[in-house]
Subunit: 337 residues, 4 copies
């Protein structure tokens, strides 16, 4: 069976997923697209044969030739499209963040709970990165004891002109919100955002940030977000346990020795750093559509990350420690890990 | 277009390629198989829908539903199948080694030259490994000057019971024969095989070996083959230039600190170490079949490696330095890099 | 000239310095000792020729045969001895911490300012570690831009039975208090101490701690102190600048590949980790005594670290962010770096 | 007791040892010097108090105020001075190489055997390097099984104008001749020298070389000597056993991330790389003089290295594999390790 996919939103990320579905992964075919910019939708559709251009995302979802939907549109539109997919009973892969607020995300939870089955996979691709998978395996294996601390750094060389301060929370740190929950298998309970001396490359954006997260078990997480650090795209995570630590390892294709320096290249951007994770993530989704079961990061994971983001924004703007108040976890998500 | 692939030989490697074509890569479908063991062919075919089981490899090649052929049978049979593909005008991906001798490989060169166009891609997957690609880019870029020496180690934790001493040359070292030619963009001109103190785990097999290769430009290559070293599968390559060096870098998903040791896991086998290279290699082949052009390691590369293997076997059995005598390179292969 | 050194306090650290002065370094000789335990003083003195045992530390200082004094007694006694040395005009090397409180340390500052010249070198040995020296050189060189964040971890495998929670601030974190001031060349302005989930090996001691330091320029420092982490003694420091980062590098005598792991040994304790730093530090002191000038970490550095410790203790016990209030820096210390 | 040392030869290495004996190490004092250049001897002596300048090295040895002698003169003069020390019953530290030929070195063995006790420590400083010590401990510990192969590289950024081709054997590779014997605890039995494509920076000197050594147990050693490689001073050694490998580890004070590269500085020269080894080596010698026993690399070690060098020179000039023929090991050296 070849999964016929409809793609809503064909900007940079949407196009990258189309490339993946078309020329990299097995078992899927893009059959329909829509975009807020109809001309862009037509251009992208024109690069392949048999791709229908729809006027709206809802039309994509309603298209009988579409087996499953990939939502890569602007975050504010996710709620409408994901809920429509749920109501149509169609599996949906939604890029992160699930929704711009915990409240909006909660409505998607409501919709899926009402539907009675999981239909959503959220695009937290790090869960498919070999490094993070190995990290989680060590933590879960118990050989370093209970996790007490996590040290994280999330560094981008530069950001797009439209990047505003809030995005350090909602677009950047949100990856760590999810990864920490997943690595430690527990919820985040409080967020404090600190504002270090700003990077001169950051313009008006407060950068870097230093976030402090607390979890149910009492573990603390320090998280640096630096989005103008120039030198490369670099993601660091170390979990400190009672008996040892585990951290993401070195991944360098080569070591060059020249002019007094022994050096390795650093990834230029997230596409390069997480290329394989994106491939595995989406293949995982295709396979799950064929199997008829939703897997991977769930609506609940998206909701929890959104509530933590809300707390992070509050702390960023008003200062101080902000507790994270999650609703009770519906039974639908209890078995997930 | 979906490439309809016929697979000849469905042992471990053949099955792995079928898995890849079916569930990992884009644009291909397995439609026919054959194996020296018909029962095994039937079992493998039975795992998918619409796969024809043929009595012989030649039948697979002759099948009109087969657009392209993947040869993963025993090395001694490669010549027959690859030549048949060439004569049938069908693109063929052939696992290494191309043939068990330079003479046999030369006949495949003849066939392809007679056909007047490249139809063969050889399974030297290392050319698709991110590490080797980066290594080659640095060497070709000139920043370390001309290559003077190459240090290689090829280590397997254990080998199959059927592994005999010659295979250290024909199955193990042959990867480095190809990689060195490709990295330095020149031919190997002589081989000397030394027999160090044997590993107690090696039984009757002379293991390790220390090979010395010489190239057209006068560069020397030392190559350790160890096939019973227990600790893991480990491939090391360093090119020493006039101004610096470049070597394969560390690829460790995690670093664990426990009990006085800071350690990273080592790959258990070649499947794990070169997983991505295998994926990229075969996708590259599928794409080239669609594009109608053969790319990647060629029949000539397979021929050159086979002649170097011949010299290696002579040195292994009779001792001493054995020159490598290649025929003139046909024009068909002159533009390849 | 051979510097004749009197040693006050001959416990573990005192004895280690005597070993160093006697058998490792050039230009010094131990001529007198005193200890709160006279029997221990006699034993230690008996291991060499010509060492006088005095009843009290003040007698050591008053001994005309003593050119310079090394204070390695319990921290609460440092003030009395160091002030006596200053008043006697004798150079003194004082182990850290300078004094148990900022107030006590301030009185030593007063004494030295009254004396009109520097006579004290404080035992912050990390300033002599090749790694920290290289770190500081990079930060000062400007190639990574202004320092915005510092990530530190200070890990001990175990601690002595007498270790109490306060010592995580006054004995453990105090090293980072000094090193951060020295690396960034500015004062710490506030401390916040967080209490993560406790390590089960820690007994009644709150361990680990997560400290947040702020500096004059607005840089933030997160500092983990873990003193029961079992796996080894491990010190990590990374300075995050506007354009790049610099961190302590790997120092592993060997890499061993065995049983699926590529691993390096981790230092067992601080003696092993900082052996060379201790040697260089004390040779530096001996040389400075000969040269007639005090160098290295000063009384002011000890005072500043003590005031930061005071703030850390307050935060540990009462919670919250505690500002650090230093007095004006006397002219005597203005030229120090 | 302070050892009164006479130094013969005050060129670069001699002066460096004087600096070490005077200002770095414990228990020694330089009291006499001689040099082939009397003016240089006077200058060096003038930098300290109480140093006698002698007309010849033999006068230094004969000086009653000299307890022990350090020979750092030109290699061709070592035999005369070391034999004179032996005959005078004075401990002597002799820089490597012991002598310019196995024959000359053999005469020093004869002299020491006749004297009936060890008086000579040879300046193979690598035996005191923490990396090599750890390497040897792992090999001797047996955890990687018997050693089958050793991979070595010895790289200098540049060499002095007086460096000639033979010195790649006698001055450069000689360090590995000793280190291999010491690591594997057995003698080298044959040498083959290969001449790779020459480095354009090497002028008339054949550089690099690729040496192949064989040992009594049948282990093979490949050794690259590169003396014009520009990028830094770099020493690599990996021992390949039956079950695993061990190699010199990374020793980098810092890791800097800038402009797309994660890099560490490489040592500029051997003084920087082996600074600590030189200190430990010479302190070891001083301590052994006080203890009245010679330790460390012996005359036999110097002799064996010289005979291997002879074989290496023969192979360099005439080509081919040259066996190493050592005399029987005198009982005096049987207990050494």
């Amino acid at each position: 069976m070849t999964v016929r996919v409809g793609v809503i939103g064909v900007g940079m990320i949407g196009q990258d997923h189309i490339r993946r579905l078309t020329g990299v992964l097995a078992g899927a075919r893009v059959v329909a697209v829509a975009d807020v910019d109809p001309e862009r939708a037509r251009q992208v559709a024109g690069q392949a044969i048999g791709v229908t251009v729809h006027a709206t995302g809802l039309d994509v979802i309603a298209d009988d030739d579409v087996d499953a939907v990939l939502v890569a549109s602007w975050g504010a539109t996710h709620e409408e499209y994901v809920v429509a997919c749920i109501q149509a009973g169609k599996p949906v892969f939604c890029e992160k963040p699930l929704a711009p607020s915990g409240e909006a995300a909660g409505r998607i939870v409501d919709a899926e709970v009402a539907a009675g089955r999981r239909l959503v996979q959220l695009g937290f691709m790090r869960r498919y990165d070999p490094g993070y998978l190995a990290l989680r395996e060590v933590v879960a294996g118990g050989s370093i004891g209970a996790a007490l601390l996590v040290h994280c750094a999330h560094r981008n060389p530069t950001v797009q002109p439209h990047y505003v301060a809030d995005m350090a929370i909602t677009d950047t740190a949100v990856h760590e919100f999810d990864v920490v929950r997943w690595l430690l298998d527990e919820e985040i309970t409080a967020v404090t955002v600190h504002r270090p001396r700003p990077n001169r490359h950051g313009g008006d954006v407060q950068d870097p940030l230093l976030l402090l997260l607390e979890t149910e078990s009492g573990a603390f997480v320090d998280l640096e977000t630096s989005v103008n650090i120039r030198y490369g795209y670099d993601i660091r995570t170390e979990v400190v346990g009672e008996d040892g630590t585990v951290e993401l390892g070195p991944v360098a294709p080569v070591v060059v020795r020249r002019e007094g320096i022994q050096g390795s290249p650093i990834a230029a951007d997230w596409q390069e750093r997480f290329e394989k994770a994106y491939d595995v993530e989406l293949q995982h989704w295709i396979d799950s559509v064929v199997a008829g079961t939703a897997v991977g990061p769930s609506t609940w994971d998206g909701y929890a990350a959104a509530v933590v983001s809300d707390a992070g924004l509050t702390s960023l703007h008003r200062g101080g420690r902000v507790p994270v108040a999650l609703r009770d976890k519906p039974g639908l998500y209890l078995k997930d890990r």
